[in-house]
């Protein structure tokens, strides 16, 4: 009797563990599943060079997704991230190419501007109490316009060689930009899990009033999440510009949505307060893998857009469904 019940107990806890794992890392499981499907469906999919390519493409969206995930945890969203990527990339390229700035100075200035854009969003939302949707939509248009002004809508290509390693360099077989993404995810997973700042961010998203009445500076937390998201978008802008060896007004286009979808697929709760940041990385890899596989299977790119919409609805539908079942 005793041993039987223990066995059942063990069984149950193993199933529970599997269930918990698949819930926490749903996106990872999804990557494996579509990876297997595409490997059988297309002869070109399963190769180390294609995998490296997928990771390479994931990296810039993935970096933006950290910031978007952070904001989603606090219960916010930033629609300006895509054009923040674009604008900071343009400034990075412009200052090097036309003002002959030192590339490192250009990087620092680009990152600073990204941070300022994020701070502007944060200020408007946290302190002026504008809805995030509107404030960031405004900044989106400002960034879009400034990008066009700076570049005169003409790509700035052929950047100094010193910055090529950021986007096109490799350490062994691994692209430098993938390393940057992974390091940032490690850093932010640590921050979110292990520091007071990180836990306060979760608390604000989980229950803003309860956080406030526990003495947490809720406005500051929201402000900082936006500022950090802006900074990360600039990192992505620099890396992307370097990877493409060109700053153009199409860079980073719709990254804010791809980042949002990635984070949602990665299990970041849309209502805030929940989700592991690293999920956003798996989410962005999933998204890129999905389109990579579609392209390998010669699916019409127009139809790929349609499928992207379907993926978004499914991912968010799962989140809603999961939350509804709890009550």
């Amino acid at each position: 009797m005793g041993s039987k019940s223990t066995a059942i107990h063990k069984n149950k806890s193993f199933l529970d563990m599997m269930a918990k794992f698949s819930k926490d890392y749903m996106s990872l499981v999804a990557i494996l599943l579509i990876g297997i499907v595409f490997s059988f469906a297309s002869p070109y999919f399963f190769s180390s060079s294609n995998f490296a390519n997928i990771l390479l493409q994931s990296s810039t969206v993935g970096i933006v997704a950290i910031g978007q995930a952070l904001l989603m945890v606090t219960g916010q969203v930033d629609l300006s991230l895509g054009y923040n990527v674009c604008l900071t990339g343009c400034i990075f390229a412009y200052t090097m190419k036309f003002l002959s700035w030192n590339p490192y100075l250009a990087i620092i200035v680009a990152l600073a501007i990204g941070f300022v854009i994020g701070s502007a969003n944060g200020f408007l939302v946290a302190y002026c109490k504008l809805p995030a949707f509107i404030a960031t939509l405004g900044l989106q248009n400002i960034c879009k316009g400034l990008s066009k002004i700076i570049t005169n809508a003409t790509p700035i290509a052929n950047l100094p060689d010193e910055v090529a390693f950021l986007g096109r360099g490799y350490v062994g077989a691994i692209p430098v930009c993938v390393i940057i993404m992974v390091l940032l995810y490690i850093l932010f997973s640590f921050i979110m899990r292990k520091t007071r700042f990180g836990r306060n961010i979760y608390a604000v998203g989980g229950g803003r009033e309860a956080a406030f009445y526990s003495g947490i500076n809720t406005k500051m937390m929201i402000f900082l999440s936006f500022a950090i998201a802006g900074l990360l978008a600039a990192v992505s802008g620099v890396v992307l510009t370097s990877r493409l060896n060109s700053a153009a007004i199409t860079n980073g286009n719709l990254y804010e949505f791809d980042a949002y979808i990635s984070a949602a697929i990665g299990g970041i709760s849309l209502t805030g307060g929940k989700g592991k940041i690293v999920g956003a990385m798996f989410g962005s890899i999933f998204l890129i893998t999905f389109f990579n596989g579609m392209t390998m299977l010669n699916v019409d790119p127009f139809w790929q857009d349609v499928l992207k919409g379907v993926v978004l609805i499914i991912a968010i539908g799962l989140d809603v469904f999961r939350n509804r079942r709890r009550h």
Binding site: A210, Y213, S214, G215
Partner: protein, 492 residues
């Protein structure tokens, strides 16, 4: 011969864990103003909801004009002729006065909305009540008193025979009150029956013909106003056996820990002074909306004040902010446990360590081990019934959730605990556990400020009570002077 319009027969309404109404029977006379009085939680709101067609699963019968009343929705109730003006007005702020009056009942002409007809009728209604109001004005631009007039017109538009008014005067100034009384007179002259709910004795004695007293969901007495004095009515409202429901232990009090002097926030509260001694439970009584919570928020530095000083352990607290108050050792168990007290989707452990993160940080990072240790320690200390410290706090009962909130501040080593309605929505057994916890706090040399709307609780647990009335200190009573009648007469 009494002309009865509404008769309640053996109305019982049970909610999980509470009998909100317990075999309530009484009659309401046609064309009279009938007061419904009782403490918070006596069952008045539940009874109104029965008449409004909101509560439909009750036992017993309501007889309206000789026929059984069986409204399933508020609009059913309106068809019978019963309308309710709720305390929180239910108007569409962005629509005009005329449209609001006809909302849900728009006048049509040839399949289209008949604007001119509606405006004309609305104007007539307002004129009849003697109120000067532009029917094209947007409701959001109106004062609360005028909104109430619109609400009353809206009710009248539904062929209203019985108008229930839930604390209509709570939000009005004295001058606006005169307008309300005038309107009520006009309605009564037209033969409308009014059920009037209020905490204010003055109004009830001035206005009403009859009164029904409810207490703990039970019908206590229905009588004509002329047969009862103010003191008698209050006694009927509050009189109950206290027993050992409140396990108060008297301990020796220490030095003054908190001295509040002439604290003022214009329009909210004025000239509030009181002291709190170490080991003391200071009860703060007063009606909902009297400014009790706001005073505490000011002491905590959440709201700014225009004048007054606060001495904490004999030293003035300058440049106050909430964070500083917390670090000084003042903790708050807020009014709304679910929203303000706890992050519902966080674990018990994470909630406990939310205020004092310091003690879980080692080498600059949060240690999972320390968090677990601290959480376990306090779960055991306060006897929180939870499957584990990783359980999300939303799955705990109200009493245990409240213990988790208190644990947050114990871990912070707070010395002054401000408890705002600490037992609201908590069942009787868990209540006495919270009371024992309060005993333990003061025994350990902490001090407690307890805001409560429940008089028995205030009397049962306090060493001293201050009463707030409309933002002012109405009185201070020592434990040996405490009685429900005394507090109530200071409240109203």
């Amino acid at each position: 011969m009494k002309d009865v319009i509404l008769e309640l027969k053996h109305i019982t309404q049970e909610f999980p864990g509470v009998k909100a109404l317990d075999d309530v029977s009484f009659e309401i006379e046609r064309g009279k103003i009938h007061a419904l009085v009782g403490e918070n939680g006596a069952g008045k709101s539940t009874l109104i909801k029965v008449l409004a067609g909101i509560n439909v699963h009750y036992q017993g019968e309501v007889i309206f004009e000789g026929k059984k009343f069986s409204a399933k929705t508020p609009s059913d109730a309106q068809k019978y002729g019963i309308s309710v003006v709720h305390q929180e007005l239910k108007l569409s702020e962005t629509l005009t006065v005329a449209e609001n009056i006809f909302l849900g009942n728009l006048k049509m002409k040839r399949g289209l909305v008949d604007w001119s007809g509606m405006k004309k009728e609305a104007r007539e209604m307002l004129d009849n009540l003697g109120v000067d109001l532009d029917v094209d004005e947007l409701v959001e631009h109106l004062s609360v008193a005028k909104k109430q007039v619109v609400e009353i017109c809206k009710a009248m538009n539904h062929n209203c025979k019985v108008l229930v008014m839930d604390e209509p005067s709570a939000v009005l100034t004295d001058k606006e009150l005169d307008i309300l009384f005038h309107i009520i007179d006009q309605l009564v002259a037209k033969g409308v029956t009014i059920i009037y709910i209020s905490h204010k004795m003055d109004e009830i004695f001035k206005l009403c013909h009859n009164a029904t007293v409810l207490r703990d969901g039970k019908h206590i007495k229905t009588m004509p106003m002329k047969d009862v004095t103010r003191q008698q009515l209050i006694s009927l409202m509050v009189g109950r056996d206290m027993g050992m429901e409140y396990p108060k232990e008297i301990i020796e009090l220490g030095e003054n820990i908190l001295e509040v002097q002439h604290l003022t926030r214009p329009g909210v509260f004025e000239d509030i002074s009181f002291t709190l001694r170490r080991g003391e439970v200071l009860g703060v009584s007063g009606l909902v909306g009297a400014g009790r919570t706001e005073i505490m928020q000011a002491i905590l530095g959440i709201d700014k004040v225009s004048g007054g000083t606060i001495l904490y352990k004999g030293k003035p607290m300058a440049n106050r902010n909430f964070k500083q108050a917390i670090q000084n050792g003042i903790g708050l168990v807020p009014e709304d446990r679910k929203l303000q007290g706890l992050v519902q989707i966080f674990s018990v452990g994470e909630n406990i360590c939310m205020v004092n993160r310091e003690c879980t940080i080692k080498g600059g990072i949060i240690s999972h081990k320390l968090t677990t240790e601290k959480a376990k320690e306090y779960v055991a200390k306060l006897n929180v019934a939870t499957p584990g410290i990783d359980t999300e706090v939303q799955y705990l009962s109200g009493g245990n959730q409240q213990k988790v909130v208190i644990a947050k501040w114990l871990l912070q080593d707070s010395e002054v605990f401000i408890l705002d309605e600490p037992t609201r929505g908590i069942d009787v057994g868990a209540k006495s556990e919270i009371y024992r916890l309060i005993n333990r706090l003061v025994k350990d040399g902490k001090s407690v400020i307890m805001i409560s709307s429940e008089l028995p609780e205030i009397i049962g647990m306090s060493d001293r009570v201050i009463v707030i009335h409309e933002g002012r200190l109405a009185g201070e009573l020592n434990r040996d002077e405490l009685s429900q009648e005394k507090i109530m007469s200071l409240c109203v």
